[in-house]
Amino acid sequence: MTVKVEKIEGGTPHDTIMWAGLLSALVCIYLGAGLNSMFNAYTFSFFGGLAAVAAIIWGSDTIKGLCSYGIGTGVPSVGMISLGSGVIAMLIATRFSWYLAPIVLVVVAVIIGAIIGYMANDVIMMKIPVMRRSMTEVAVIGGLMLMGFAQMTTGSYALLDLAATKMSILGLPIAAGFGGSFIGASIIAVAFILGAIAVQHPFNACLGPSWKQDRMLMLAAECGFLSMLPVAFMSVAYLSLPAVIVSVVVSAAGWLYTYNEYICLAKRDAAAWLDAKPIREPEGH
């Protein structure tokens, strides 16, 4: 069996992944919001989760680019700062109408991320070439992830819907108020940490001499779908029964597919090691 030699650098260029991630996340958020209002249903809320998956795939590649320089603080710190700056941009965006909000999110996140990147690169003098750009990107990624998860949980990303919602168990309204809402019940904190862990884990798990981009991106998609599952279960409190079932089925199907693919890729890359022969004793001594 021959070991396929692949370039460790290379794969899809980062610019392509960035634009693909940004556009597919925005398209998914708009599709979810548009189809929900067109059919006056919550069935299409799962598109928010798909937007989060797109953002996570983009984010893992950004984190790879930044952490290859050895920032010294560990990969998880980038995931934390991503959501820390993203949540601020996401919540101000919720004040705007449904078609403006994602654009406002991207613009505000770019501003906040650029300031943080400038602080990290120039004031703190990390002097990493991609630092400013990466900090800007991770802020947008964090915001898009949270907005996607918010949409998947409640079917909307307007502040009024997130802060005051008709509490319902499987479609039966039981109470209306502020306490049980996405923000009031602090479900936003769960979405926050689900996103932070999902975005930093793929590179943290795949880094090393045998790093391959397709394997890391597949793990990122797997982490995204796995994070969608708890979000889908949390949406039981807000969405109708068919919408919850659609969300759970989409997340579970996506997770099973990407997990299987990831295991195949991991076996492909592990073959180089399984094939290694034990060190032979030199003969004739």
């Binding site: 101000i92 004040r95 990290a120 003098m125 005051a164 923000i183 904190a189």
Partner: protein, 281 residues
């Protein structure tokens, strides 16, 4: 894979970047003054958020972070990353402070309760770190950066293994961890308390709530999640400043803290302004 050297992050400062950061800070404070009518609730809240961010950025420099080398007994400190430790201490403090704020105990009690929460968390962590290092891993505590411990005066060099940068958790690092936890808890609670006042003031009209009491869960949760967000931003910036590992206040890296303070000033001003705008526009 291109191998790049680890950034060392020298001691110097970048005057141009520092000046730009201060201009940005003044611009944001000025904008808040003009937009929200001078010295009012919102202006005070923004100043408190900035102050809290600076306390967090400063406090992180006290926390003895060892990272992976500490887990192998090759460097002193707690064997995890800065972001995790600072977040643990700060969030523990935030819970204590938020509980005091919810009981209407006032600003000073809440902030001190937050500080004690963070300090307590760090003290418990450091205690068990020392126990595990000493009795489970057989690692004595010795600093690699100083000859004598600045607090106890104990000599360090005899206990330090060759080829390591020290190991275990020396007393000064323990004390530094508690101070860092206190500062982080105070900073986090200050941010939380300031934002809570703004949201409790502005949200009832914004959400057209029947009573001001009805929006309290939303105000608490919003202030909490923003406090966590601003906390993480400042903690990670400070972590970048010390590039991974530090022993505490006696480490030479501690002298880099002015850079982190300038970064924390501008970053928390930007984040704080947006966080306040969520309810104020």
């Amino acid at each position: 894979m291109t191998v790049t050297p680890k950034p060392t992050g020298g001691v110097g400062m970048n005057p141009m970047a520092n000046a730009l950061s201060i201009i940005l800070l003044i611009a944001i404070i000025g904008a808040a003054w003009i937009l929200f009518g001078g010295y009012g609730l919102i202006f005070k809240a923004l100043v408190a958020v900035i102050l809290g961010g600076v306390l967090i950025g400063f406090g992180v420099h006290f926390v003895p972070v060892g990272g992976a080398p500490a887990a192998m007994g090759q460097a002193p400190g707690i064997a995890t990353g800065v972001a995790m430790l600072a977040a643990g201490a700060g969030l523990a403090g935030l819970f204590g402070g938020a509980y005091a704020a919810q009981s209407n105990l006032g600003l000073v009690t809440s902030v001190v309760a937050g500080g004690i929460g963070g300090a307590l968390m760090m003290a418990v962590t450091c205690l068990f770190v020392v126990l595990i290092y000493t009795y489970a891993m057989g690692i004595p505590s010795a600093s690699g950066k100083v000859k004598v411990d600045p607090i106890t005066g104990d000599t360090q060099a005899e206990y330090k293994s060759q080829g390591t940068e020290g190991h275990g958790l020396p007393f000064s690092s323990f004390a530094g961890g508690v101070i860092g936890g206190f500062l982080g808890g105070v900073g986090g609670t200050l941010i939380y308390y300031a934002l809570l006042q703004v949201y409790e003031d502005k949200l009832p009209a914004l959400l057209s709530a029947p009573t001001a009491q009805a929006i309290v869960p939303v105000a608490v949760s919003l202030a909490g999640v923003f406090a966590v967000g601003i906390f993480l931003v400042n903690a990670v910036l400070a972590a970048y400043n010390i590039t991974g590992t530090t022993e505490g206040f006696h480490d030479p890296k501690f002298s880099r803290f002015p850079r982190a303070i300038i970064a924390a000033l501008a970053a928390s001003a930007a984040c704080g302004l947006v966080a306040i705008l969520v309810a104020a526009i």
